[in-house]
């Protein structure tokens, strides 16, 4: 299970990469592998306002539709348009090419509620027990 060190994580298996006042977000390797082959993603539009822990996107596999929640509140700066035609990027490269959106962080404090890589790793291990 790939869990990069430099990211922050949620219990719903989203990740956030912080760069200045912005955060790039996506779903973790664990999430993509439990969802299976992703066939479609419904993304927000640039300019949409997101609230932490509220639905940011919906991903569909053949037999499931799952919400993905915003790890942090803020406005959407841009979304990964490649995913529309190639949702498989999420499976192939969840932390790089499979990113979902960039958020302009509205509330720096919210970061404190996110997990570090080691905490997330420990959390995932409890799930597979």
């Amino acid at each position: 299970m790939n869990i990069p060190e430099n990211l922050l994580y949620t219990k719903e298996h989203e990740w956030a990469r912080l760069e200045g006042s912005q955060a790039t977000v996506g779903i973790t390797d664990y999430a993509q592998s439990s969802l299976g082959d992703i066939t479609f993603i419904e993304l927000p539009k640039a300019g949409d306002e997101m609230e932490q822990s509220k639905a940011l996107a919906t991903v569909e596999s053949v037999k499931a539709a799952s919400d993905v929640y915003a790890p942090l509140s803020g406005n959407i700066v841009k979304v990964n348009e490649d995913l529309e035609a190639s949702p498989e990027l999420i499976n192939q490269s969840p932390y790089e090419n499979g990113w979902f959106a960039v958020i302009e962080i509205a509330n720096e404090k919210e970061k404190e509620g996110l997990m570090s890589a080691s905490d997330y790793k420990a959390y995932v291990e409890t799930l597979s027990k």
């Binding site: 479609f40 569909e60 053949v62 037999k63 499931a64």
Partner: protein, 443 residues
């Protein structure tokens, strides 16, 4: 007799294997207090007795009336091969093709049906079918609301009143705003539609031919609606699409309709066939089952139910619809019917319907006191103005052996003297002449 194959001995063997002393022991969770207070059902009958009873009931219905009654539901001839194929029990007694590898026959047939619906409507994608034309129109309205995020629907009153009433019923607990616009000279009133069209409008619903049988070209309405970001839903009569401009050609986003005319018997109102097609950008908002082509492990073409993540069994309360059925057997009738008719046949069928109706118009116009309304062209149904109450005329025509049409006063205020008359390819020159003669005598 209940089609149960167990012998007494087998029942005992099975109980023994289970470890129960009697069948009743298996029902022990249903305590005596929960048992039926009554179960007063008649004793069973033999197959012969039931058929005789059915024969007696069937004979209480009128047979042999010559049919000029349509109003959205038409008396077309059904080729024998349609029955022969749909009666094959490999189709009849299968269920929804959840397991594609043992349901390829059904899935391919549905894919072929979807193709035919796309060809008829001129749109990109169709679903595997819905219950009927009315529920299909309701689903289309909800689809437009979901797609646009708006909740106002403009509906032309040329849309079948039964369907309009159904839409009101279904949306009575939802926040949907309906505006009904009048018919002007038999066609959709542009003036009224444009007056209400705005950036809150989710969809404009039109019907072609409309309930009065008149033909319209709604291209201009589609253009204006799209400028406001609204969708256009066209409710259409599939046989007419052999001749008339398609929903795709007018620019409609969603087409729905009643598929009964494609090889389904009238059968006192059901089962019928709701069809739906749309532009490709709206496919994921479409309700119902959808078959798609793919390949198997060896790369061989095969078919599956696809886009299932829209549906109730996966998305539950957030599904695009609660529908679980597709009227597959009815859709099969439709694809076999359109296959038999074929490209040329469907066109000729539509022309025959048009021609018979034009002939009937001329014959009926000769009757003194009767006027054919001719403000707009019609397909296979038209309005007659009678010198007296159409309800009464129709009752008298029944005695002459005709189901003379639909008295419009039933649905429209102030139209008590108007009669809606339909002629399909089944109505011969002689029958139309006899009909005109009978009407002349009655009036």
């Amino acid at each position: 007799m209940s089609y149960i194959p167990h012998t007494k001995e087998q029942t005992q063997e099975m109980l023994k294997a289970i470890g129960a002393s009697s069948i009743d022991e298996l029902f022990k969770d249903i305590r005596p207090a929960l048992r039926p207070r009554s179960f007063d059902i008649p004793e069973g009958l033999s197959e012969f007795d039931v058929i005789e009873r059915m024969r007696a009931l069937a004979s209480k219905n009128a047979t042999g009336l010559i049919n000029f009654l349509g109003a959205g539901f038409y008396d077309h001839y059904i080729p024998a091969a349609v029955d022969a194929i749909t009666e094959r029990s490999e189709f009849y007694t299968a269920y929804t093709p959840y397991q594609p590898e043992c349901s390829q026959g059904w899935l391919q047939a549905i894919y072929e049906y979807q193709t035919a619906i796309c060809e008829l409507t001129g749109l990109d994608a169709a679903n595997a079918s819905l219950y009927d034309g009315g529920t299909a129109l309701y689903e289309a309205a909800l689809m437009a609301i979901r797609t646009t995020g708006r909740n106002k629907i403009i509906m032309d009153s040329g849309v079948n009143l039964i369907y309009r009433t159904m839409l009101y019923t279904y949306t009575s607990n939802l926040s949907v705003e309906f505006v009904e616009t009048p018919v002007a000279h038999g066609q959709s009133s542009r003036e009224e539609i444009y007056k209400h069209l705005d950036d809150k409008t989710a969809a404009v619903i039109v019907q072609n031919p409309n309930f009065f049988g008149t033909i319209d070209d709604h291209s201009d309405i589609a253009e204006k609606a799209h400028l406001c970001g609204a969708l256009v839903i066209a409710s259409v009569y599939p046989v007419s699409l052999g001749l008339l401009k398609t929903p795709g050609e007018i620019g409609a986003d969603i087409a729905t309709g009643e598929g009964q005319s494609l090889g389904l018997p009238l059968s006192f109102g059901g089962p019928y066939l709701g069809f739906m097609a749309c532009k490709k950008e709206f496919v994921r908002k479409m309700p119902g089952r959808i078959a798609g082509a793919t390949v198997d492990k060896d790369g061989k073409r095969g078919f599956v139910l696809t886009l299932q993540a829209r549906e109730q069994h996966i998305r539950r309360e957030r599904a695009t619809s609660n529908i679980c059925s597709n009227e597959a057997l009815c859709a099969l009738r439709a694809i076999v019917y359109t296959t038999l008719l074929g490209k040329q046949g469907l066109k000729e069928l539509a022309q025959l319907n048009y021609e018979r109706s034009e002939f009937a118009k001329n014959e009926l116009d000769k009757i003194k006191g009767v006027e054919v309304k001719r403000s707009s062209p019609t397909f296979n149904e038209f309005t007659l103005a009678l010198p007296r109450n159409a309800d009464k005329v129709v009752a008298e025509m029944i005695d002459k052996g005709f189901a003379a049409g639909f008295p419009l006063g039933r649905f429209y205020k102030g139209m008590d003297n108007y009669l809606l008359v339909s002629t399909t390819e089944k109505r011969t020159e002689e029958e139309i002449k006899e009909f005109a003669e009978a009407l002349r005598v009655v009036i």
